[in-house]
Every structure is written in structure tokens, then in C-alpha cells.
């Protein structure tokens, strides 16, 4: 029962988050509709494009009438970068497009203290806010002649600072002095006041908590500007990351995938053929394959580390296992999927068993094997990154894992982009190979 209530409360948390995000989602959809409207208006002024699609009156429900609109794709990608740049104050964007950023520069306020005898005194606080990554500037304060001395504080953007305003005063909080107003607005312990670019709160203990205005931009540690990611790419590409060059990190990941996939296919395809051609092999391996197939390769990582350590062999065993079952099942399907009339035709044309294997069964299974290979490559790529997240000295996954420990968000984002780009390139390559090698696919 308690797990049930726990899950229910988790569900409420998730729902609350979802409700919080919902307005943004709706806003995004409205933006999409807005660009669509603009696009329609723009197109009306251009020369009308003549194609058969334009003559169709029934387009809803006709999936052949829906092709990807490349203008929408371009706008969508550009928008992602604009939003990214806008919320990070990117140099690549004109500053009118920037969201209000965190306050930097000089600010200040005055506070009023009340002494136990009821008398009040005023003093000022000078505040200097400097950007992250800059050196903290020196601030000299004219403390003034009154007994409540003026204070000064230097704060990094996005941070806050507690100010013990009485540290330099002749009366301290122990003497019963307390702040009763900020810039003339009265305030009590636990309260807060907003002065230009600052939020000033009085803690229950009576000190001041000064927090410069954060704006709505993202702090670089959460999301660096696109140019920071690009700069980091240049830096890592030329100087390397954690003792290894970028090409080494990516090269090792690719090497593992290719070698693991190669051996997986080398064993898996003959295994699949044996299962497709012999009931004994089918019976022998069916339980093993059917059990291993739904086990995510990631779940094998701990065992593989125990058995083979974190070196190359362990990773390649893991990727081998990831590819093996997929390739075996693809080859099995390729063999069992052969149309019996093709085999019959070959027999009555005088082919021997061996010739039927070579000229009919193997080529007939190639489309299935290529489909399997595409899936296997995708799974291997995902698995290698995950394995490197867990334990590796080099590799794309190791790069982002280590970077996250050092809060190098730019490296993390760069790594994610590179991993995505390579995964995409692998899939494109497999599609291309498929087109060249099995042009008859789906046309039998």
C-alpha cells in the first residue's frame, strides 16, 4: 500500500511539473501556427507553384498529400538556435533579440537602523555585480562619519550574498540594533524589498541577503551560449579533452561500435541462417534468443565490467551482444520469409540445395539483414555512449560524463550534438548502403 501512495505522490509531482510546462508548450504551438500564417501570406505573393498536390481538393486523410514542408523545417531549426541564443545572450544575435539578462554593474540602496533607545540612523550599501568568469573587482567604500557605517559588497551575477551590515558599525545586532527600512520602505525580519536591479531581504537573524536581478536568461552553467559551444569545439579539437584529442574520443567510440557490430553480424547472421534452416538449431537457440532479445544491452554493463573490466574487450563484448541477437533474428526472418514458390522454381530449374542456398536464400534474406543492421547500428551507438558514461578513459560518452562532473556544460552540450550528428550520419550511411546493395527491397 505504501508503494502505491508513494507512486501517487510522485505522479502528482510530475503532473505539477507538466502543468507548469504546459503554457510554454501552448506558446510554442501558437508560434508554429503564427509562422504558418505568415508563410501562407508570403506564398500568396509569390508565383503560385503548380504541382498535382495543389490541385487536390481532398488532402486530409490522404497521407500521400502530406510531404514535409522544407520551409517549416528550416524555420524550426533556425528558431531553436534563435531561442538558444536569445536565452543565453549570444553574441551571434543582435541584442534586441536577447531576453533580459542578469544585472551587471553598480547599484546601491540605503537602510535605516533603529537602536534600542528608539533613535534611527541611515547608511548606504554600494553593490557591484560582475559577470561570471570575470575577476571580481575591488570596491572601496567611503564609510561616512555616522556611527552606522556605509557598506559595500561585490557579488557575482546569478549569485547572492549575505551582508553583515553591523560588522563595521559602532552598534551591532547584539546591542539590539535592527534594520527597519530599505530605501525608506519599512521592512521586518523575514521581509524583502525590491530596489533597482536588486532584491534585498532581511533574514530572520537580521542580516541582509542581497540578490542581484537574474533576468530570464540562462546561467552559462545551465546553458552556455552557442558560440561558447563552438569555441569549446575548436578548443577540444585542437587541444584535446582530458588527455585525449577529440578525434580520439570520437574515433574510439566509432571503433567500438564498428568492431562490436562486425563480430555481432559475423556470428549472428550464420546463427540466424542455422535457425531458419534447421529445426534443431531453431529449437536450441529460440529460448536463448527470445530471452536475450528483450534484455536491454545496458543492463549487461555491470556484468560485463565484472567479467571483462572496463577495457576495450569489455565494451566490444557488450556491443557484440547488442548486435548479435538483432542480427540473428533478422537473418532468421530473412530465411523464413523466402517465398516457397521461389525455392520451388529454383528446384525445378535444376538447382541443388547448395545452389539454392547461395542464389536464392542468401540474396532473398539481404533486405531483412540490412534492416537488422540499421537497427543494430543504432542500438550499438546508443549502447557505446551509455557504456562510456559508466566507465571509460576515452570516448564520446566519457567526455560528457566527465564534463558534467566539472560542470562544463558547454562540453556536455557539444558532446550531445556530436553524438547525435554521428548517430544520424551512421543511419544515413546504412540507408545509402541499403539502396546500393539491395535495390529490390520491398519490390518483390
Amino acid at each position: 500500500m505504501s508503494i502505491f501512495t508513494q507512486l501517487i505522490s510522485e505522479l502528482f509531482n510530475i503532473l505539477a511539473t507538466f502543468v507548469m510546462v504546459l503554457p510554454y508548450l501552448i506558446g510554442y504551438v501558437l508560434l508554429i501556427m503564427l509562422t504558418l500564417g505568415i508563410w501562407r501570406i508570403v506564398r500568396r505573393f509569390m508565383t503560385p507553384k503548380q504541382d498535382f498536390g495543389a490541385l487536390k481538393t481532398v488532402t486530409f486523410g490522404d497521407e500521400s498529400a502530406v510531404t514535409s514542408n522544407s520551409a517549416a523545417s528550416v524555420i524550426s531549426i533556425v528558431l531553436i538556435f534563435v531561442l538558444w541564443g536569445s536565452f543565453t545572450g549570444s553574441r551571434w544575435l543582435p541584442s534586441v533579440l536577447h531576453m533580459p539578462g542578469a544585472f551587471q554593474g553598480e547599484a546601491g540602496f540605503s537602510y535605516t537602523i533603529e537602536l534600542p533607545d528608539g533613535s534611527t540612523q541611515d547608511a548606504t550599501v554600494d553593490v557591484v555585480v560582475f559577470g561570471a568568469g570575470e575577476n571580481s573587482p575591488k570596491l572601496s567604500v567611503d564609510e561616512g562619519a555616522q556611527s552606522a557605517k556605509n557598506d559595500g559588497v561585490v557579488i557575482q551575477a546569478y549569485r547572492n550574498k549575505l551582508l553583515k551590515w553591523d560588522a563595521n558599525d559602532e552598534f551591532s545586532r547584539k546591542d539590539g540594533a535592527k534594520i527597519i527600512a530599505i530605501n525608506g520602505q519599512s521592512i521586518a525580519p523575514g521581509g524583502e524589498a525590491f530596489v533597482s536591479n536588486l532584491r534585498v531581504a532581511v533574514t530572520p537573524k537580521g542580516t541582509l541577503n542581497i540578490e542581484p536581478n537574474k533576468g530570464v536568461q540562462m546561467e552559462p552553467i545551465w546553458l552556455p551560449a552557442p558560440e561558447a559551444v563552438k569555441d569549446r569545439l575548436v578548443e577540444i579539437a585542437t587541444a584535446g579533452f582530458k588527455n585525449f584529442m577529440l578525434v580520439e574520443h570520437l574515433g574510439y567510440s566509432l571503433f567500438r561500435v564498428i568492431v562490436g557490430f562486425f563480430f555481432g553480424a559475423l556470428v549472428g547472421i550464420p546463427l540466424g541462417y542455422a535457425m531458419g534452416l534447421s529445426d534443431w538449431f531453431r529449437g536450441w537457440f529460440d529460448p536463448i534468443v527470445e530471452f536475450m532479445r528483450p534484455v536491454p544491452p545496458l543492463a549487461l554493463i555491470p556484468l560485463v565490467i565484472i567479467w571483462a573490466g572496463i577495457g576495450e574487450v569489455g565494451k566490444i563484448i557488450l556491443l557484440f551482444l547488442a548486435a548479435l541477437w538483432i542480427m540473428a533474428i533478422a537473418a532468421r526472418a530473412g530465411v523464413s520469409g523466402v517465398r516457397i514458390s521461389k525455392v520451388h522454381a529454383a528446384y525445378s530449374l535444376g538447382a541443388s540445395k547448395w545452389q539454392i542456398m547461395r542464389y536464392v536464400i542468401v540474396p532473398n534474406s539481404l533486405p531483412e539483414i540490412f534492416t537488422g543492421a540499421r537497427v543494430a547500428m543504432g542500438v550499438c551507438w546508443g549502447t557505446v555512449v551509455a557504456a562510456e558514461l559508466v566507465a571509460a578513459e576515452k570516448g564520446a560518452g566519457m567526455m560528457i560524463m566527465v564534463a558534467s562532473k566539472f560542470q562544463q556544460t558547454d562540453v556536455v552540450i557539444l558532446g550531445i550534438i556530436l553524438i547525435g550528428a554521428i548517430g544520424f550520419a551512421i543511419d544515413m550511411l546504412m540507408r545509402w548502403a541499403e539502396k546500393i546493395m539491395v535495390p529490390w527491397k520491398g519490390r518483390g
Partner: protein, 271 residues
């Protein structure tokens, strides 16, 4: 009635055991003799064992009783002397038209030059002279069946077995292909057994026409017809104007119709 020449089907029976313990008598006591060079069409309602008969002759199935003899020797399995043309989808998509047609000779180890000559000649004969290097999936259904015919002929088999070879084609293409089958029959002198669902096709493409009946599958009636010989050098539409044609067509149509009615009646009685 056994002779050493031609195709002998002796007392053939075929029973399929079903997984549920029952069995289907697909063929019962089929006796048939085809002389070398005869063209026979086979008609009958669905499930009367036509395909089963052809598969046994081809050697893909072993009969539960009886045997097949071709030119005196018993059939024990598939072989190049009994060629097969299927309805569709039996071509090898991974091979060009030329490679498909040359497949049989290649399996036998015929020299390349010789294969080339045979293939060129056959493809010209079936009217695909301009499509030799094309991929089969680029061809229309009718053209693909031309390739299938040429591929079968390239092996120079004694008997050609066709299981509804023109069933998937449109009416116009079908008519052209029917003429082609007659032309090839006359030119090559092969023994041909052709299964069809179309009474017209059976009339036009059979010196002999076999009507089979279901449950158990058996020979119901046999005709000897003049139309195939006429069709060899006449337009098939002219042949259809022959005084006997319409009469035979009506007779066989109502025969098949009655059988189908009976099957329906039995199915209703069962349920």
C-alpha cells in the same frame, strides 16, 4: 494403360494429415496419361486439388498412393525436366532479366557463351528483346510472366507445369499472353499442363480440358477440343466465334457452377 513415353499419372491419391488429427483427401485415384507434346488445361473449383496435383508432378510433394512416371522413369523429386511457371513472385528480384532466364543453364554448368545465346534467343521470342538487362521489378506483371516463361524454356524441360500463370494479369495482357503460350507450345512441342480459373482460358489453351471435382479431388470430366490448334495461327477472338465454343463454354460453366453450389450447400449443412 502404361506407355513408356509421355507423362503417366497412375492411381494417384494424396491425403494431408491436419494438426487437429483430421485429414483432407486432396486427391483420390487420379489416372491420367499425357502424350509428349500435349497441351492440357485443368479447371475446377477452389480446393479440388489442382495445385496439389501439379506439385506432385513437379516432385515437391510425395503422393500417399500411386506414382508419376515421365518417359518411363518414376518421379521422386523436383528436376529440371519438369519446369514450373507460377502465378507471380517466383522470379528472383536480385537478378536481372537475363540472369533470371539464364538461371537453369547456369546451375547445370553450361558455358557462358552458350547461355548468352539461349537467353538472347528466348527473350526475343517472348518479346523482351529490349529488356534483357533490366531488373525484374522494373517490369510490368505481364512482362514478368514472359520472363518466367522464358526462364522455364531456357532449361528445355520435357514438361511445363503452369499454376494459374496468367491469373494476376489484366484482361488485355492476358489475351496476348494466351497467344504467346500457344505460340511457344507449337514452336517448342512441349508437354504443357496449365491450371486456370477461367473457363475461357481453359477452352482456348487446352487440346484436352480436364474438369476436376472436390472432396475428394478427382477427375470429373475430360474434353478434347479443337480451339488450341485453331488459336495457334488465328486471332483468339476469331477462335471464340467457332460454333462449338459458346456451347462448350456454357456447358462447363454450369458444371462448375453446380459444383460450387454443392460446396456451399455442404458448408451450410455443416454449420
Amino acid at each position: 494403360m502404361t506407355t513408356d513415353h509421355g507423362l503417366n499419372i497412375n492411381n494417384l491419391s494424396m491425403r494431408f494429415d491436419l494438426p487437429n488429427g483430421g485429414s483432407v483427401q486432396a486427391l483420390k485415384n487420379v489416372n491420367l496419361h499425357l502424350k509428349s507434346g500435349e497441351l492440357m488445361s485443368v479447371l475446377g473449383p477452389s480446393g479440388c486439388g489442382k495445385t496439389t496435383l501439379l506439385n506432385i508432378i513437379a516432385g515437391f510433394l510425395a503422393p500417399t498412393e500411386g506414382e508419376i512416371q515421365l518417359n518411363g522413369s518414376t518421379v521422386t523429386g523436383p528436376s529440371a525436366e519438369r519446369g514450373m511457371v507460377f502465378q507471380q513472385g517466383a522470379l528472383f528480384e536480385w537478378m536481372s532479366v537475363r540472369e533470371n532466364v539464364g538461371f537453369g543453364p547456369k546451375m547445370k554448368g553450361t558455358p557462358k557463351g552458350e547461355i548468352r545465346e539461349t537467353v538472347d534467343h528466348l527473350l526475343d521470342t517472348v518479346g523482351l528483346g529490349d529488356f534483357k538487362e533490366k531488373a525484374v521489378y522494373e517490369l510490368s506483371g505481364g512482362m514478368q510472366q514472359r520472363v518466367a516463361l522464358a526462364r522455364c524454356l531456357a532449361n528445355d524441360p520435357d514438361v511445363i507445369l503452369m499454376d494459374e500463370p496468367l491469373g494476376a494479369l489484366d484482361a488485355l495482357t492476358r489475351e496476348k499472353m494466351q497467344s504467346l503460350v500457344l505460340k511457344l507450345w507449337k514452336e517448342t512441342g512441349k508437354t504443357i499442363i496449365l491450371i486456370t480459373h477461367s473457363v475461357e482460358e481453359a477452352l482456348l489453351l487446352g487440346e484436352r480440358l480436364l474438369v476436376m471435382a472436390p472432396r475428394p479431388g478427382r477427375i470429373h470430366r475430360e474434353y478434347r477440343l479443337p480451339f488450341a490448334d485453331l488459336g495457334v495461327d488465328q486471332d483468339l477472338r476469331e477462335v471464340k466465334k467457332h460454333p462449338d465454343y459458346a456451347e462448350k463454354r456454357e456447358e462447363i460453366l454450369s458444371m462448375i457452377w453446380d459444383m460450387e453450389e454443392e460446396i456451399m450447400g455442404r458448408m451450410e449443412a455443416q454449420s
